[in-house]
Amino acid sequence: MNIWQQINESAAGAVATVQRAVVQIVTAEGATGAGVIWRSDGLIITSAHVVVGRQPRRDLRVLLADGTTHPARVLAYDQARDLAALSIPAQGLPVIVPGQSQQVRAGQWLMALGHPWGTPDALTAGVVIGTGSALPESDGRNWLALDAHMRPGHSGGPVFDADGRLFGINTMIRGPQVSFAVPVDEVVAFLSEAAAGGAALPGAPEAAPAPRPQYV
């Protein structure tokens, strides 16, 4: 195998692993976006704009990679960060492996999964343009900018590296070639703030034993 074939093997392996932790979010009107499974007991992270209109939507369903469908409930959301946490009544789910935002560097090859163009599980990829709050589009918030070809249905899906580690949640595009993701550290901060604010959230991914969310 030449190095191109070796790289292709490794990238395909990472995609296949991550894909199992990617969900599709569906409302009564149809598919709205993607999400990632954060905890095996049904905690899912997505973009706020996928699941919240004026109010959190009540007609949400989550389709897992194994083909099963589950009703979903919005546990918490943060429109400034464009993040939301959902729960579905399920156990033993395959989870995404979070990375750390400080590991992201300009020029690094990252991949993004979502369900754009009505196509389930479509991949795009590119290099990191930059991170942080100094990007022209940032409005002072933290972003991860990628030169990948995202489309609206990518929202809520993962940005990950060749090891399958999560570095961001797809959130928006600026033109066909510049895509933005919410950095993974913002996801961690969002979840801890939501838990402190009284949302019925489980702890951080590695924290165990964590309280189980109540499903009513």
Partner: protein, 309 residues
């Protein structure tokens, strides 16, 4: 480590250079030429939408030589056209098979709209199975597909940039082989690659018959959600509601009525329009069974698929 990036870069450039003699320029429309792939000594495949005229088609090879080509036929559904350069002895491209492609693979789109060969880099976004490759037990499962009207029996979706004139050129992977024909002819901003198996089938049919034998039923349909009880029994969420039946058509002769919901054809589930089109594509003249829902009840009826003239 720096050698790895150089090796990758060289592997890509070597693949393009090795394929270059089999990548031709196709002059068959007014302004921008398009790209073609040498399939065999006299045969070139290209994109149907890039061949706007039937006569006065010219092929320009990598050495700059120009040749007259004739149009053997078109497969508009798969956006393919097949050309012949009579008496030529062109070097066929190395052809890969689709089992070699996986989502995440780095791939090149290669074109020759001008004198020089050109390339853009992207990844394989998705491998979309055709209706026939969809196992019966998978129906109704899996993720929701919506809005996509690409009329192909299975295809590869990529995020390669389709530079002007790249339609008709090959998708190339790490083995340096052709894994399909790229086209932007389906619109919607998606880079679609027609798989090798489809090209092979189309070239065979066009060489034998000069045209595709497009099957048809003579119905106007639209996707609808099935009633819950039926959906549960069939393990299928959607079907195609018959909105109109053409008088004297195969559907009319078979007794299909407005209001019927087509849920299967020839043993394969039909949940979306593209599945029905793919199932009809290669079945002109065949007697098959159609699964329909009428008055809330599932039933099967024989239908002989017609040939679109």
């Amino acid at each position: 480590m720096s050698e790895m990036l150089k090796s990758l870069s060289d592997a890509m450039a070597d693949a393009v250079a090795a394929l270059s003699p089999s990548i031709v320029r196709v002059e068959a429309r007014k302004r921008l030429p398009t790209t073609g792939i040498v399939w065999s000594a006299e045969i070139i495949v290209t994109a149907h939408h890039g061949v706007e005229r039937d006569d006065n088609i010219k092929i320009v090879l990598h050495d700059g030589s120009r040749h007259e080509a004739t149009l053997i036929g078109r497969d508009a559904q798969n956006d393919l056209a097949v050309l012949r350069v009579p008496g030529a002895n062109l070097p066929p491209a190395k052809i890969g098979d689709n089992a070699g492609l996986r989502v995440g693979n780095l791939v090149l789109a290669v074109g020759r709209p001008g004198d020089q060969v050109q390339a853009t880099l992207g990844v394989v976004s998705a491998l979309i199975p055709g209706a026939e490759q969809k196992p019966a037990e998978a129906k109704g499962k899996g993720r929701r597909r919506e809005g996509m009207q690409v009329l192909l029996d299975g295809y590869v979706q990529t995020d390669v940039v389709m530079y002007p004139g790249f339609s008709g050129g090959p998708l190339v992977s790490g083995d340096g082989a052709v894994h399909g024909l790229n086209t932007s002819g389906f619109g919607s901003g998606v880079s679609v690659t027609v798989p090798v198996a489809t090209i092979r089938n189309t070239v065979g049919t066009l060489l034998a018959h000069g045209k595709m034998r497009q099957g048809y039923l003579g119905v106007g349909v639209q996707p609808v959600r099935l009633p819950e009880a039926v959906a549960h029994t069939l393990k299928q969420e959607t079907g195609l509601l018959v909105m109109s039946v053409e008088s004297g058509s195969p559907a009319h002769q078979a007794g299909l009525l407005v209001g019927d919901i087509v849920v299967a054809l020839a043993g394969s589930p039909v949940e979306h329009l593209d599945e029905l089109l793919a199932l009809l594509h290669s079945r002109a003249g065949q007697a098959v069974t159609a699964g329909i829902v009428r008055g809330g009840e599932h039933r099967e009826m024989p239908v002989t698929i017609g040939e679109r003239q």
